[in-house]
């Protein structure tokens, strides 16, 4: 059984007649990074809000945040992708739905929204766990000093919690990069989809997927290295992580 290896394939022109296969792969990487980063900003904002709500004394707020988390955690990402892409535009008022479907980058926008909500539920769990991990005295001391609850969160609890949850947040960030590949099901040509397209055009299965794998691993290593630096800088003085 023989397979014709041809690593030179990446230098060849793809069927679009303009770009080489290598440029196709890089464009895919660009969409992967753009989708993950935009989704991450949304996930951090929503996740922080839900995570904070999860730790507040008001029971209705805690329950609402809990329901939010359960909702986005218990439906597979692929199904959520389909809901945002196929179902939501139909449920909106007709004009809004048509506008959404006609957007030139509809898969990108949908993927960002979907990944943003999906990941925010996970971020919320981490943030809530980080706040819960603080000694209860921190909140009481802040309130006793006369800080209002928002001030206590802003000046005392969150700065401490952020440093504690940095490692799990880093792995959530790696997850959102990987999860962005699910968007290929709604037509986003990100890195995995580019590799698949190269394989379909050129029949070089192993080269295409090997190149995509190397790029994912490289992004992973870069993010991990960056996070290690950040973690060391932000480590709480006196904790095990601090130098």
């Amino acid at each position: 059984m023989d397979y014709h290896w041809n690593w030179a394939i990446f230098g060849e022109l793809s069927p679009d007649g303009v770009n080489t296969y290598w440029q196709m792969l890089l464009s895919g990487l660009g969409w992967t990074l753009a989708t993950s980063l935009a989704g991450w900003v949304m996930a951090l904002a929503l996740g922080a809000l839900a995570g904070i709500a999860r730790t507040l004394p008001q029971r209705p707020l805690r329950m609402a945040a809990g329901a939010y988390i359960e909702l986005f955690r218990n439906v597979p990402l692929l199904v959520q992708m389909f809901l945002w892409f196929f179902v939501v535009p139909e449920l909106l008022p007709r004009a809004a739905g048509d506008w959404l479907k006609a957007l030139p980058q509809a898969p990108f926008v949908t993927a960002v929204i979907c990944l943003g909500f999906f990941t925010s539920a996970r971020v919320a769990v981490q943030v809530a766990a980080g706040i819960d991990a603080l000694a209860g005295g921190q909140a009481q001391a802040a309130l006793a000093l006369g800080l209002t609850r928002p001030q206590a969160y802003r000046y005392v609890l969150l700065p401490l919690a952020v440093r504690i949850v940095l490692p799990p947040l880093a792995s959530e960030f790696l997850n959102i990069i990987k999860n962005s590949s699910v968007a290929l099901t709604i037509g986003l040509v990100e890195l995995t989809a580019s590799a698949r397209a190269i394989q379909e055009f050129s029949f070089q299965v192993f080269e295409a997927y090997a190149a995509a794998t190397v790029l994912y691993v490289a992004v992973n290593l870069a993010v991990t290295a960056g996070m290690n630096v950040l973690e060391r800088r932000l480590a709480l003085p006196g904790s095990l992580g601090a130098r």
Binding site: M1, V79, F206
Partner: protein
């Protein structure tokens, strides 16, 4: 728009029967295979024989660095070649969607179960191992009778939580046009032009099942404390 419950009423039994059976069978078998393989990987990573430890660590880190969808594509194309190589055939072997998916999920999930089991083994106190050795047990006896049963028991809630993730992840075999739960529902959705109804139905079923499963895991966790 009109929400047409009739398409769900007409097809739910069929979609649940063919699709969900496929999904559940794949989940359970991949979990069983993944836990066994993951435990072996964990032992390899903890082994004193460095090349083996490095090889296992490399595999786990590689699998965990790439998206599941990409891994599904890898194995879908790789497994026929591997099978041909193993049995010495001239042509890539036709493995079939179910087996291809099962091999993929077992190998993929093993990397995640490996890390859980590694944590579980690491948490067993050293005295247990010393005691087993003092009783004259060999390495495999010590692992099989003393360390692994305790590690497995301690890590059960985490392993089950990971299995819920696996149950959700199985939906991604959709990219291979396999008749899993999502695939079966998508087929009806496209045939009848009823995407909204069918995808909502899929979401509700997953939501209810996953909520029930996580509640079960939480109860298990509380009962053990």
């Amino acid at each position: 728009m009109e929400f047409d419950f009739d398409v769900i009423r007409r097809s739910w039994a069929d979609v649940l029967l063919t699709g969900m059976t496929f999904t559940l069978r794949l989940t359970v078998l991949a979990m069983a295979g993944g836990v066994v393989l993951g435990t072996l990987l964990a032992l390899a990573r903890l082994s004193g024989f460095r090349p083996l430890a490095l090889l296992a660590a490399g595999y786990v880190n590689l699998i965990r660095a790439v998206p599941l969808v990409l891994v599904i594509f890898w194995f879908y194309f790789l497994v026929p070649y591997l099978a041909a190589w193993v049995i010495g055939a001239d042509e890539p072997v036709r493995v079939g969607a179910f087996w291809s998916a099962l091999i993929t999920f077992t190998l993929f999930q093993a990397a995640y179960y490996c890390e859980i089991m590694r944590g579980g083994i690491g948490a067993i106190s050293r005295g247990q191992v010393h005691a087993a050795q003092a009783l004259g047990m060999r390495y495999w006896q010590c692992m099989g009778y003393v360390v692994l049963p305790q590690a497995l028991r301690n890590m059960l809630p985490v392993l089950l939580t990971q299995t819920i993730v696996l149950f959700q992840d199985v939906s991604l075999v959709y990219v291979l046009s396999v008749p899993d739960f999502v695939g079966a529902a998508a087929r009806v959705a496209q045939r009848d032009g009823r995407l909204v109804e069918m995808y909502s139905f899929v979401a509700v079923v997953y939501f209810v099942m996953c909520c029930a499963l996580s509640a079960l895991v939480r109860r298990l966790q509380r009962a053990r404390r």
